[in-house]
């Protein structure tokens, strides 16, 4: 279907946290590919490892990371600290969840925004001009005035716009958005999602959107990956996953969400496992209504069906 | 929570500090038995003798054995430190919880009084009280405890203000639990870790204050072997009998350091939640 260029490729990515007496395997062998213009959603519940994944992609994760992260043909894992610094923001950037804590409270908005340019070699005056333009692009009224504002003088939605401006400032190849709207009200969330959608189009950005909300994913993404307990259990085109979810967890997620339909929801029993001691075999088997003996013993191998990838022993049977 | 406190005792530094504190408490309790000499009896023939076999830490200007004076002095220091802190902390918790939990006019009154007491740095406040009330063991204890009470009230009040808005307190209120019960069952237990850390630090500070008063000659009056008082009288002989000031000061330092290290570690553990 897509013959576009590959922007990023993640191979066998693992992130472990060493806690002394135990190891938390937050991300445990994940592969995926981002193509140009893709908006790839990574959906999972808390404790699925999705935020760790996001941070590790830009090499800001404090845990032990292994595997390959290839962005624009360069393996980030092989770069020196100095090289990765230059890579950040210019090739790969990130948008965080909490707009109120992500900005430095004692620095002016303009100063924080201009910094992105100056650190990557722009002159002060050029940085200023570009920053003002950028603020206008992300829909902040009175941009010149706002350059002189401090973060606490802006609303949550406005702060998130500033952060988005920073992320797209140098026109990077890949933007990671980690729950960009979870801290915002729903009407503001709609505005921000809309902005992200428009920017992706006009800038030709490729994005990874990390979220717990299937609805948010559906809103702006074209491909989707479902994470559960450190594993990517299903990856595919948005429409095809929504019309035909193959993994039992994906199905459960979709039937858990109230959608204005009356009648009882079908909740999953139990909760997300402890990642320092995940279940043997398929990590989902204790909560899975279709689990058989094989699921308890053997870890399922990735199964490729057309454009779909599923991690389940019982694909096709259920 | 208990596991966190266990973590405290695992640290070697804390173990060392605890042993030092216990050593001084032990000295205070058994002073009559372990002290080699009478701490008060004067023998001018032995004035300012340097440390020797007979007098391990030497003798002071009036020929009294310094080791014995330090041993008996630990009684005063430990008493002052624990009693003053207990008084200050009790008053601080009492007024702080009332102020923070009930708010309103009671809060305003307590706050104003606290502000007045905070109008002077703690040590000066203690000096002011002993200056007016005169110097003896009890006025020193009361002055030191009053000097630590206002900041204690402030801290406890702040904590109580936070806890009273917490959901489990609101839920208990909705069930009809009365305020006294809520205070003892929810508020005080939940602010106790921070209080314990603060109390530990105050044990050290109260020693510094009490012996500071002694040093200035307005603390526990001579001939009582109070460490600060010993330093104050001994400093006149600094040019030819430095041992008079080295050992009492070292005792103060060790004890205060021990309390401070434990208090710091406690604070660290609470913050690591």
């Amino acid at each position: 279907m897509h013959q576009n260029n590959v922007v990023a490729e993640v191979k066998n990515l693992k992130v472990y946290y060493d806690m002394g007496d135990r190891t938390i395997r937050a991300v445990d062998g994940i592969d995926f590919t981002i193509r140009e213009g893709d908006c790839f959603a990574i959906v999972g519940e808390s404790g699925s490892g999705k935020s760790t994944l996001g941070l590790s992609l830009i090499r800001l994760c404090p845990g032990k990371v292994s595997g390959e992260i290839i962005v624009d043909g360069v393996d980030l894992m092989k770069l020196s600290d100095e090289e990765i610094r230059k890579f950040r923001c210019s090739k790969i950037s990130i948008i965080f969840q909490e707009p109120s804590s992500a900005l430095n409270p004692v620095m002016k908005i303009g100063e924080q925004l201009m910094e992105v340019f100056t650190v990557h070699g722009y002159s002060k005056s050029e940085a200023y001009e570009r920053s003002v333009k950028l603020l206008k692009t992300v829909g902040i009224p009175e941009a010149e005035k706002r350059m002189q504002s401090y973060p606490h003088q802006l609303s949550g939605g406005m702060k998130q716009r500033v952060i988005i401006a920073m992320a797209i400032a140098l026109n990077p190849r890949l933007v990671i958005a980690d729950e960009p709207t979870s801290a915002l009200d729903v009407t503001i969330q709609a505005q921000i999602l809309n902005l992200l959608k428009n920017l992706t189009k006009s800038y030709g950005l490729s994005t990874i959107l990390i979220t717990h909300d299937m609805g948010v994913a559906a809103e702006i993404c074209n491909r989707i990956g479902i994470m559960y307990a450190g594993k990517m259990v299903e990856v595919g085109e948005l429409e095809s996953i929504f019309s035909n979810p193959m993994h039992p967890y994906t199905r459960a997620l979709m039937t858990c969400i109230p959608r204005g339909l009356k009648g009882l929801l079908k909740p999953l029993p139990g909760h997300v496992p402890d990642l320092s001691n995940p279940p043997e075999g398929c990590r989902f088997h204790p909560r899975c209504p279709y689990a058989k003996d094989v699921c308890k013993k053997e870890e399922p191998k990735p199964l490729h069906l057309d454009d779909r990838l599923v991690l389940c022993h019982r694909v096709g049977e259920i | 929570m208990m596991e966190k406190y266990k973590q405290l005792f695992k640290s070697t530094r804390v173990q060392l500090c605890l042993s030092i504190i216990l050593l001084f408490i032990f000295m205070a309790l058994l002073a009559d038995i372990i002290a080699p000499y009478d701490p008060i009896e004067i023998d001018l023939s032995k004035s300012c003798n340097p440390p020797s076999k007979d007098h391990l830490l030497g003798t002071d200007e009036l020929g009294r054995d310094i080791l014995s004076r330090i041993i008996y002095g630990s009684r005063l220091t430990i008493t002052i430190s624990f009693v003053a802190t207990a008084l200050g902390a009790t008053a601080g918790i009492f007024f702080g919880v009332i102020s923070g939990y009930f708010g309103g006019i009671v809060d305003t009154i307590i706050q104003r009084i606290t502000e007045i007491l905070l109008a002077l740095p703690g040590f000066l406040l203690a000096i002011m009280f002993v200056a007016i009330m005169g110097s003896n063991l009890w006025t020193v204890i009361v002055s030191v405890s009053i000097s630590m009470t206002p900041s204690f009230i402030r801290m406890v009040r702040g904590l109580a203000l936070q806890v009273r808005e917490l959901e489990y307190v609101l839920a208990a209120k909705q069930l009809g639990a009365n305020s006294i019960k809520i205070m003892f069952r929810h508020v005080i237990p939940n602010i106790s870790p921070t209080i314990i850390a603060q109390v530990t630090l105050n044990l050290g500070t109260s020693i510094l204050f009490a012996s500071g008063l002694g040093f200035l000659g307005i603390g526990v009056p001579p001939p009582a072997p109070e460490w600060g008082t010993m330093l104050g009288t001994g400093r006149a002989y600094i040019f030819y009998a430095p041992h008079l000031i080295i050992f009492p000061g070292l005792s103060v330092f060790l004890l205060v350091l021990s309390f401070n290290i434990i208090g710091d570690k406690l604070g660290e553990i609470i913050a690591s939640k």
Binding site: A102, N104, P105, H152 | I113, I116, A119, S211, R235, I246
Partner: protein
């Protein structure tokens, strides 16, 4: 700036001055009550046991002790706030002139030691924070907690022992030359520095864990730039406040240091007056101390509103 923000800042300033005055009135009222509540004739208490009947009568006259208690109280307040602090029993000169003569010495000591402590303590605190968990951090942190636990009077004596008794390079006490300033300054500065190292480190470590640091990293800033540009700007705000408050508390510590080094400041004046039962002098110097302390705290608060944009007076 328009007229309105200036007005609002002025309003705040007057509000603070007003609360300051109320607090001071509270404090002197407390002293008034305490002195009156001591059993016996207040005039006799104030004059001391050795005073002659004439002196006692003179004091009774001065303080209006023959009049009803509320009149006494107002006379007392009026006297304090017009800085008419009475006459010293010991020297027979006005209390206020004695105090004013000593005050500069105390201030010199406080300012030099604070400067020294800040100049050394802040960089060391930052250093400890940036090497958090390492050997240097352990060393500096241990040194800092030891410094805080050191009884300042003992530290002073030990310094005298080393530099005056053994090495004979610095005077043990007195005033007059810059040499005399060194030991008292170092004594206070060491304690204060230990304290500053501790809070600076805590504040810097705290700021380094904030989300905006990750944001800064994601922009491609180097660790060094992040520390100097982002972290310190946040971390030093509480440090400034605490140093301000400590400067006030230093005035209390001055009592001890001035006594050790025979430094003719306000602190030693208090101790000498207490020991010679010169009550007007004690009362007067405590009042002046409280006034100074309050002014320093007020200045610190105003400084805080100036350096932190979040509370800046609009």
């Amino acid at each position: 700036m328009g007229v309105k923000p200036v007005l609002s800042a002025l309003k705040y300033f007057f509000y603070r001055i007003l609360t300051l005055a109320i607090t001071l009135i509270g404090l002197v009222t407390l002293i008034f009550i305490l002195i009156r509540s001591i059993p016996g004739d207040p005039a006799r208490v104030l004059a001391g046991m050795m005073a002659s009947e004439e002196d006692v009568n003179l004091i009774r006259e001065q303080l209006g002790l023959n009049q009803p208690i509320y009149v006494q109280y107002f006379i007392y307040l009026k006297n304090l706030f017009t800085l008419n602090l009475g006459v010293s029993f010991r020297t027979d000169s006005p209390v206020i002139s004695e105090i004013l003569a000593r005050l500069p010495n105390t201030l010199i000591l406080a300012v030099t030691s604070t400067c020294l402590a800040v100049a050394l303590g802040v960089p060391l605190g930052i250093l400890a924070a940036s090497k958090k968990g390492g050997k240097l951090d352990l060393f500096l942190s241990s040194l800092s907690i030891a410094g805080i636990s050191l009884p300042i009077y003992w530290l002073g004596l030990i310094l005298i022992l080393i530099f005056s008794v053994e090495l004979r390079i610095l005077p043990a006490g007195g005033s007059g030359t810059p040499m005399h300033l060194i030991l008292p300054t170092v004594t206070i500065a060491l304690y204060l520095m230990a304290f500053i190292v501790k809070i600076t480190k805590a504040s810097v470590v705290d700021s380094m864990e904030k989300n905006y640091v990750i944001t800064a990293k994601s922009k491609g800033l180097s660790e060094r730039t992040i520390l100097y540009k982002h972290v310190l700007r946040n971390a030093l705000i509480p440090v400034v406040t605490i140093v301000g408050l400590q400067f006030g508390a230093l005035l209390g510590g001055a009592v001890i240091t001035e006594t050790i080094f025979a430094w003719p400041g306000l602190g030693r004046l208090i101790v000498d007056s207490i020991n010679s039962r010169d009550y007007p002098m004690v009362q007067g110097s405590i009042f002046i101390f409280a006034l100074l302390y309050a002014l320093v705290n007020l200045a610190t608060d105003l400084l805080y509103t100036f350096i932190d944009p979040r509370v800046r007076l609009k």
